[in-house]
């Protein structure tokens, strides 16, 4: 497996090199559609987090640890409810913006379960959203305020939007995916981060004979399957 250590001892993995089950779950490099039908390519490079203790100990910024961005419940694929866990490398950039947001709010920022990275196999991943890139956060509490009213959500949305044009928020409303009524959704779009240690040559040079994309495997399987008789 090709891997490298970042300066903060996080192992970066090329998801093409993970086992079949993980590649099927993470779908590295596959194209998916968002709710408007626009196509986006899923991330390929992930941090590998070996244990809950490691997730707690990995500080992405002074106030955000890795564990806060990978909290999921039973809606996540069972394999990803266990360690080692995988999170797209762009999560570090999200944490940077969350730190700025925290400072602007002047209070602690609490990310909901299923509110950070979600794999494409997560039961909430009906359509592509930046959660699948590790670049979105659903925040349910800021300081002591539970975000469940229009006033609170709009107030903090405004703070987030004022921070940077890179930040997108969902307005208050009751339609899942389009707006939010019990959290603040903040994202950076479909951003992919390729750590500088990575050489992308391997995109053109498969290291093994096996197909590298899950969809390629499916197609290969389909080709091998005998034609059905009508």
């Amino acid at each position: 497996m090709s891997s490298t250590e970042t300066s903060q001892a996080l192992k970066v993995v090329d998801a093409f090199d993970l086992d079949d089950e993980l590649r099927t779950i993470l779908k590295p490099g596959e194209m998916v559609r968002d709710s408007l039908g626009r196509r986006h390519r899923l991330p390929r490079y992930f941090y590998e987090i070996t244990s809950h203790e490691a997730a707690l100990a990995t500080r992405l910024t002074p106030h955000f640890a890795m564990n806060e961005l990978i909290l999921n419940d039973l809606k996540e694929a069972p394999r990803l409810q266990q360690y080692p866990r995988y999170v797209p490398c762009a999560v570090r950039i999200l944490a940077f913006y969350l730190e700025q947001f925290r400072a602007a709010c002047g209070a602690s920022v609490h990310i909901a379960v299923n509110g950070g990275y979600r794999s494409p196999s997560h039961k909430l991943a009906f359509d592509a959203t930046p959660h699948l890139w590790g670049t979105a956060a659903d925040i349910y509490r800021i300081g002591t305020s539970i975000l469940k009213t229009k006033e609170l959500i709009e107030k903090f949305n405004e703070i987030a939007e004022d921070l940077s044009d890179d930040i997108h928020v969902l307005p208050y409303g009751h339609t899942s995916g389009k707006n939010a009524d019990d959290h603040l959704h903040l994202d950076l779009g479909y951003m992919m981060h390729i750590p500088r240690e990575i050489s992308e040559d391997r995109m053109e040079q498969p290291q093994e004979s096996r197909p590298r994309f899950a969809f390629e495997e499916r197609r290969a399987r389909d080709r091998r399957a005998p034609a059905s008789e009508d």
């Binding site: 419940d73 039973l74 349910y140 509490r141 959290h183």
Partner: protein, 304 residues
């Protein structure tokens, strides 16, 4: 109404003993019937449904037991059954984490709704908003403190279809589960969960007998039900030493209790009491009174 000492008559040694037992049972039946009517009258109940089965004597007795009532929180027993169906099949680990989120979808128009946090006092669940609780913890709070939030979260996890499938698989008629709780739009459209006393009795008997999926699943369910914290129903009519695995159900016009009563030195009895009253009347002690009356009648008939 019938009072039937099933299986016992054939075991009696002589005709005179058999006749004596018949007289005793008939007297108990008359006494129970009179008392139930008196309680119904005293408490101005609109409706009353009772179903009873004693595993020790095999006596079974019922009053208006196939009449459907609004289930209120007794529907949570069906949710518990559905959860343990999935657990027993290996489809749902009891320690699986569930996101505690106060946001649900109405069955009427698929619009989201939130529970009124002030309506049921279960900080044990609400305190975890945004975090997780395990399936086991949610099942515990759903039954022991009748947490509506825990109930709706579990309904979301397993799905209404699974709950109905569990009821069908176990042949439990008389329990209809359409939705979670506090779905106001469904309530206004008269789409409610409903139960009969006989339906709940059958469910509880299966659990008491270890026949709801597996002995292990039943033991887990009983363990939770024995921890019930609301004890103004069936337990209030019993000696303090009695242990009751039960679930209450209350809304503005109904007060129910359905449970398995364990008394020292004898097999348990299963009792379901469903009461309905006028909205302006409020809850009374009718359930406890019926529970007391049945216990007393049972004790007297055994002593005879």
């Amino acid at each position: 109404m019938h009072l039937t000492p099933r299986g016992k008559i054939s075991a009696m040694p002589s005709n005179s003993a058999q006749a004596k037992e018949r007289d005793s049972v008939a007297a108990a039946e008359v006494s129970l019937y009179r008392n139930v009517l008196r309680i119904k009258d005293e408490h101005s109940l609109v409706d009353l449904g009772i179903s009873f089965y004693d595993a020790e004597t095999t006596i079974q007795w019922a009053y208006n037991a196939d009449h459907y009532f609004h289930a209120a929180s007794t529907m949570k027993l069906a949710v518990l059954l559905g959860v343990f169906r999935q657990v027993d099949r290996g489809d749902l680990p009891l320690d699986a984490p569930v996101h505690v989120r106060n946001r649900f979808t109405s069955i009427v128009n698929q619009e989201p709704f939130m529970l009124d946090l002030g309506r049921d006092a279960d900080p044990d669940v609400y305190g975890h908003l945004g975090k997780t609780l395990t399936v086991r913890e949610l099942a515990y709070w759903m039954i022991t403190k009748s947490s509506n939030l825990a109930t709706n979260l579990l309904v979301d996890v397993i799905g209404i279809d699974t709950i109905q499938r569990a009821l069908d698989e176990l042949g439990i008629d008389g329990v209809r589960v359409l939705r979670g709780v506090e779905d106001q739009r469904a309530f206004e459209a008269h789409l409610n969960n409903e139960v009969t006393a006989n339906g709940l009795l059958k469910m509880l008997r299966l659990i008491a007998d270890g026949k709801a999926y597996s002995q292990n699943a039943c033991d887990e369910m009983l363990e939770i039900m024995l921890e019930q914290q609301y004890r103004s129903g069936i337990p209030a009519g019993l000696p303090k030493a009695a242990r009751v695995a039960h679930k209450t159900g209350n809304i503005s016009t109904v007060h129910h209790d359905a449970g398995i009563v364990y008394l020292e030195g004898r097999k348990p009895y299963v009792l379901v009491i469903l009461t309905q009253f006028a909205a302006d009347q409020g809850r009374s002690t009718a359930v406890a009174d019926v529970s007391r009356d049945i216990f007393t009648t049972l004790a007297e008939s055994i002593n005879e």
